[in-house]
């Protein structure tokens, strides 16, 4: 699979979280050149005033200052290291404790404070594309996880076919796989659905084809 590579950030929105505006002056002026608008988010009592659900991964990029006082400034659902939008860390104090907070926020790129204009396109490019890549990988992991849980259905379906229809396991597997591809669902999903139908039908005694099979041409 070829990951999409984003290189034109025109129309994006930068949400900047910092209490040190002078250190990020170059950020705003350079982002304008790249077609990116900037908004500064208010920080009150160590919390960011933001509705995470309103953020859009296609549009928004979050710049978070690692030197902010207080607890984790973002309240994301699920794993906070997998934020809903790309996060770029603004690094002042290079202490491991501060950097760790940016890692825990899921930052995929960094800009050193005071921000230098020549570093910004690189940070955007890396930050956004690493975010996209990581999302692709996460989706693939989720898919693998679903398939792993579906292994049991595959085994049961193969067993059902071999014992009831009288074909060997290779042939049973090939039939299930062919049919799942025809219906454009994963093998695991198909087997689960197949077993549901299999259980609901009256028990076959003869070597009959189960319901839903296409006639196989010999």
């Amino acid at each position: 699979m070829v990951a999409r590579l984003l290189q034109n950030f025109n129309g994006s929105r930068a949400l900047i979280v910092t209490t040190n505006r002078t250190a990020v002056e170059a950020l705003e002026t350079t982002l304008v050149k790249l077609g990116v608008t900037s908004e500064f988010l208010a920080v009150t009592d160590g919390r960011i005033d933001i509705d995470m659900a309103s953020l859009k991964a296609e549009r928004d990029i979050l710049f978070v200052d690692g030197d902010l006082e207080g607890a984790l400034p973002l309240e994301a659902e699920g794993d906070p290291r997998l934020p809903p939008v790309p996060v770029i860390g603004l690094v002042g104090v290079e202490a491991p404790s501060r950097l760790k907070r940016l890692v825990n926020l899921g930052a995929t790129a960094f800009l050193r404070k005071p921000v230098h204009s020549a570093a910004i396109y690189t940070a955007l490019f890396l930050g956004v594309n690493q975010f996209l890549l990581r999302n692709d990988m996460q989706n693939r992991l989720d898919d693998m996880e679903r398939r792993r849980r579906g292994r049991r259905s595959v085994i049961k379906a193969v067993l059902a076919l071999t014992t009831q229809v009288g074909i060997d396991d290779d042939e049973a597997y090939n039939r299930l796989r062919r049919e799942s591809m025809r219906l454009r669902v994963s093998l695991e999903e198909y087997c689960e659905e197949f077993l549901g139908r299999w259980a609901a039908m009256p028990k076959v005694t003869a070597r009959e084809e189960p319901p839903g099979w296409r006639a196989e041409k010999k």
Binding site: M1, V2, R4, L6, T30, G35, A118, Y121, R177
Partner: protein
């Protein structure tokens, strides 16, 4: 003439010379004097264009001494000889000696080499050449064309008028890599295709193998990003190889470039100079009174050449804008001069030119020219007026990179 100007630009082998200018005082009050660095590789493999750039700058200095008698500009000319290390060395010497403005650089590799120095000492580099974009240093004024002013108009023209398949050759450095990337993505997005891409070290002149490949691939045209002597050798060898095979190169496999200028046509040689396409914001053949005055003054000042080029015009523009900005700002302090330059409008040889206040790149007028036997270009396509520079192509490229290879298909049982 109120001020008689004598140029005594000399150089010592290891640094900035005692060269400079004598001002013969004629009663007018010079309120400010500024030493201005001028840094071009007037020797080395791409010296032909660089010498025309130096000439363009010097012509502007000479004119400024008459039209802006209130500011005394003293050009300090250095020649890095095409050696990157010497670019850095000279920049450091100039900026640390208090020079705040330098007109210079032709190649992007040299510009990238010196920018850190200009940023460190808060000096301003006036970069007078077309380049590949994706840069906006706070310490550079870009008076040459951005990619949306050279390569993108070329792609549109070639697809509409010449054909949809191209073969790319280039010098092995950032200019050719990036310009070819922009070219390739724009071609593919509009239904064209790139049959091959080859790179050669700057100064290389061995092209037999790639020419064989090109002739067997038979593209509709060649996109050339070779610079200097490599480019001249390629133009000659390619036409000879075509002639030997009975191919009329200019009409059957034309070469299109974003760099090719008049003094370079003269280098290619007389029976091989015609029929080459160039995308540029300036051709010396432009018929306007301003350009006529410019080319006449240039030829009078530099009768031994090299001929005026687009980069010479960009250098001339850079010095003219610098002088006007210094005069308006009343200081050579960088931020004041930058504020002032964004307010200038210059009636340049190519037409009206001004600096975009957001990117500090120039609004310029794109044109496509075809070279003739006199080693000049006939403009065949021309924009109606100046086009906004778009160095990051935010207005003129797709959001996602265009992928040129076929998708990875897996064989499924």
């Amino acid at each position: 003439m109120l001020l008689a100007v004598v140029w005594l630009v000399a150089q010592t082998p290891n640094g900035i010379s005692a060269g400079g200018r004598f001002l013969f005082w004629n009663g007018l009050m010079v309120t400010s004097r500024h030493r201005i660095g001028v840094m071009f590789s007037t020797t080395g493999s791409y010296s032909v264009v660089a010498r025309s750039m130096l000439n363009g700058a010097l012509l502007a200095f000479e004119e400024i001494s008459r039209s802006f008698p209130d500011i005394g500009l003293e050009p300090i000319v250095v020649n890095p000889g095409g050696d990157l290390a010497r670019y850095a060395e000279y920049s450091l010497q100039m900026t640390s000696s208090g020079i705040r403005h330098v007109i210079g650089c032709y190649t992007s590799s040299s510009r990238k080499e010196v920018i850190p120095c200009f940023e460190k000492y808060d000096a301003l580099l006036w970069y007078p050449s077309h380049y590949e974009g994706f840069e906006t240093s706070n310490n550079v004024i870009y008076t040459g064309a951005s990619p949306n002013q050279h390569v993108l108009p070329l792609v549109r023209y070639m697809l509409a008028e010449i054909g949809s398949s191209a073969f790319c050759v280039g010098s092995n450095y950032i200019w050719a890599w990036e310009n070819n990337r922009i070219f390739r993505e724009a071609m593919i997005a509009q239904g064209g295709k790139v049959l091959g891409e080859r790179y050669f070290a700057i100064g290389d002149t061995e092209f037999d193998q790639v020419i064989d490949t090109i002739l067997s691939e038979r593209p509709d045209f060649v996109f050339n990003n070779l610079i200097g002597e490599s480019a001249y050798a390629f133009f000659r060898l390619f036409r000879s190889a075509c002639r030997a095979r009975g191919i009329d190169q200019a009409t059957q496999i034309p070469i299109a470039s974003c760099t090719l200028s008049e003094p370079e046509l003269e280098e290619i040689g007389h029976d091989m100079v015609d029929g080459h396409l160039s995308s540029s914001v300036y051709f010396s053949s432009l018929r306007s009174p301003t350009n006529k005055a410019f080319t006449t003054a240039y030829e009078r000042a530099f009768p031994n050449g090299p001929a005026v080029s687009a980069d010479a015009e960009a250098s001339y523009i850079a010095v003219q804008l610098l002088a006007r900005s210094l005069s308006a700002a009343g200081t050579d302090e960088v931020s004041a001069v930058k504020n002032a330059v964004a307010r200038q409008r210059l009636a340049a040889p190519q037409g009206e030119v001004w600096i975009d206040p957001q990117t500090f790149h120039a609004w310029l007028t794109p044109r496509i020219g075809r070279s003739n036997r006199e080693a000049r270009f006939d403009a065949i396509v021309e924009e109606a007026g100046p086009i906004q520079p778009d160095p990051y192509l935010v207005q003129s490229s797709p959001r996602y990179a265009v992928v040129s290879h076929t998708p990875n298909l897996r064989i499924a049982k």
